[in-house]
Symmetry: D2
Subunit: 241 residues, 4 copies
């Protein structure tokens, strides 16, 4: 069983009737629903305006994979929380960063880069599989068709991904490395581009499949080491555990 916590900023849904109609249970609710369809997951949700911004230690330290959706309130996320998440990812927890999360504090901290990109309001989008045997691409076929999605364009300010799974095509003439795998010390991170709040990506069956696949891929292979286990350690000659 993989314990997944879906974190959502949950502000657009409160402010915009349009968004609320698309995602009546919040974006986190839609994502959680996609995961609950698979018995391998134990799913929780968490949002910014909850106590401890939704992620007290008891929740974070009981999470195998964290999903992150944020946009208009990146700056409100506590630096101390971001550091706690980073320590846990470095220790082995998986993290899935969605869409505008490319500009979240946690994405920038874990990649060491700016996450910058080009953007434009709604466009047609085709998410191509460039790595068809990757676990995250199973069940997707050649591509995912999204009739309308926010355009994200290159250059994307990230490190060279360890594995590139998806590249998106946009009707207006752009491309984007839209599914990127990164190793973060002992943890795995997956960035996925679709998911604008005024579009319907999280109701797309193939997007739901990607989310399920990504959580399984990012789940830790071994135990998650707490931060003290990652400290600089003096060893005598010949010591091996």
């Amino acid at each position: 069983m993989i314990k997944v916590t879906v974190w959502n900023e949950y502000r657009h849904e409160k402010k915009s009737e349009t968004v609320r109609q698309l995602y009546p249970d919040g974006i986190h609710g839609a994502i959680a629903g996609a995961l609950k369809a698979d018995d391998d997951f134990i799913v929780r949700t968490a949002t910014l305006d909850e106590p401890d911004q939704g992620l007290p230690d008891k929740v974070l330290n009981d999470t195998d994979v964290l999903i992150w959706w944020g946009h208009m309130a990146h700056g409100e996320v506590d630096d101390a929380l971001v550091e706690r998440i980073a320590v846990r990812v470095r220790g082995g927890m998986g993290i899935i960063v969605l869409h505008s999360g490319h500009f979240s504090k946690i994405f920038k901290k874990l990649t060491g880069t700016s996450g910058s990109l080009k953007w434009r309001d709604g466009d047609s989008c085709r998410v191509w599989v460039v790595n068809p045997s990757h676990p995250i691409a199973q069940g997707i076929g050649e591509s995912i068709e999204l009739p309308e999605e926010e355009m994200y364009g290159e250059p994307f300010g990230i490190p060279e991904p360890d594995e590139l799974v998806f590249v998106s095509w946009f009707g207006g003439g752009e491309v984007f490395r839209s599914g990127c795998c990164f190793k973060v010390e002992r943890g795995r991170m997956f960035y996925f581009q679709p998911g604008h709040e005024t579009n319907t990506a999280f109701h797309n069956e193939k997007v739901k499949t990607v989310l399920r696949n990504a959580c399984k891929w990012a789940a830790p292979a071994g135990e998650i080491i707490d931060s003290s286990g990652c400290e600089w350690r003096k060893v005598p000659t010949g010591e091996v555990k």
Copy 2:
């Protein structure tokens, strides 16, 4: 000074008036012309129908970077020549494989993969820079516009590139990893997608810049080791040169 040998199959130009008009000096002539504009290069050309298929030892062993364009006659290239090229690349020679060379014997041998892809006759093509600080992308700006080029689409049957420099967008709806860097033991290989024989890519100034940049990037940093230097070598304890 970097010694570049431009190898071209040189068959389409002989058979088709259309191709001959586009490339009156052959595709190799157009590429050689692009390189000769830079004093850092000593440029030679070689073609399939010359003695030793254009690459006798005295030429190959005096080459720092080999450029390869082939299409309709991949099967005619001698296996022994392909092996000689492979040994030299593994020893440090650079190689630039262009367009339909993704199906050449040498590309398949050096990647270990099929080089398979999707294709379609002429389409509009925009080659995006996804790695703007890479040496091969200098002087290109955001992208290269090619009004007409053969469409190449994913999945591209290759290993995960060590560095991805370009991704192409096509008007018909496809994307393609169009500028890929690979390390081949001691040598460097760059694959670049544009260059169909019935289009004009090799007259595009930005494409010419990519070719010059790629030759400089692929040039060996040290001496090229001949194949015997790559052999399995027995060493006594403590031996270090």
Copy 3:
């Protein structure tokens, strides 16, 4: 269930009483025994002197992961068999290449490189885990102690590995990238250094764990595509499956 075929050259065991005493059921027998301890595997063995060199189509095409041990008879393996294996790996089958298999035809074909290295008879060897959260390193702890193993030293003539899991230390002063993951189009390849025929690596419990982990890691995530599915494919505009 993962179908694993363990291929062994099986010549040293026939010629040398020393080797036969270490591996009375052959190296393939020892490896098969390690795998059979795990109910997730269906295990078969195959050897060079069997009909079709042990790998007729009905066996190869029913294999999810192939393990390869060869040494003195690399040259006797049929080129046509090597090509059949390569096509299947490119299509998604996993392959584990052990020890002196770095010089096998299949390893050189799939990496595109020479596989060259330094070597010396028996030395003390400590195989360090450099990627402790990798699936192949689970259950190993910090390192594997091998009191005696053939020394393999750098430089190792390979592409840059996609993931490096183990690095070995030798008492005589060398290091070696001893656990290397490669993506081969749709298939996964793992190279592992221990396993000299006159030593006892395949009786080491941690080595057995590595073999089981590696088979699970290399098992295909999706269906294995036969070679015809990898062919160059012409597509009309807008076609997406």
Copy 4:
């Protein structure tokens, strides 16, 4: 010409007679001396106790490659300076992080990881070249012999390096990925393990060669983009520069 700024914490030299005797001009002086032997470099030094911690904007913004040595005072480096350095590296400036700099704020910020490792006082160290054709390994031969150096051991808490150039062997039984290349958005970072303050690595001719090579490798290929150029940018349909 490449403008290199050598930054040194410069505290050990002031506090310890032993260190002062080894590096009478400071570690920064020894490194600067190694670089000045090459006419391709314009070399400056900077230290922690200077105004602006040695790196006011006029210096940092006139630097192509920054070398960083720190150890006992990592915590004293201003967070705002670390952020300014990070922005410039992301924009294209090269950075070389030496020895105990694996625990500096800037290394942890740019890698996104902890930089943790094992350590032990003085041991014999042999730095092996595992990538002999890499620009940083030119002129080194097979390895660098350091009669005494602090031992650094795996696992090293970093992302998967984009290129691994050196792996160190230690007499006490450990290995370490001692020469690691990382892409940080538009900038290049090289980490190199030797250089303990009570040993003599920076007087070793091969170490000096590595430093010169690394500065040339890390030097920006194009212009360095200031942070505002890395911002999220809205574009209209079809806009390409």
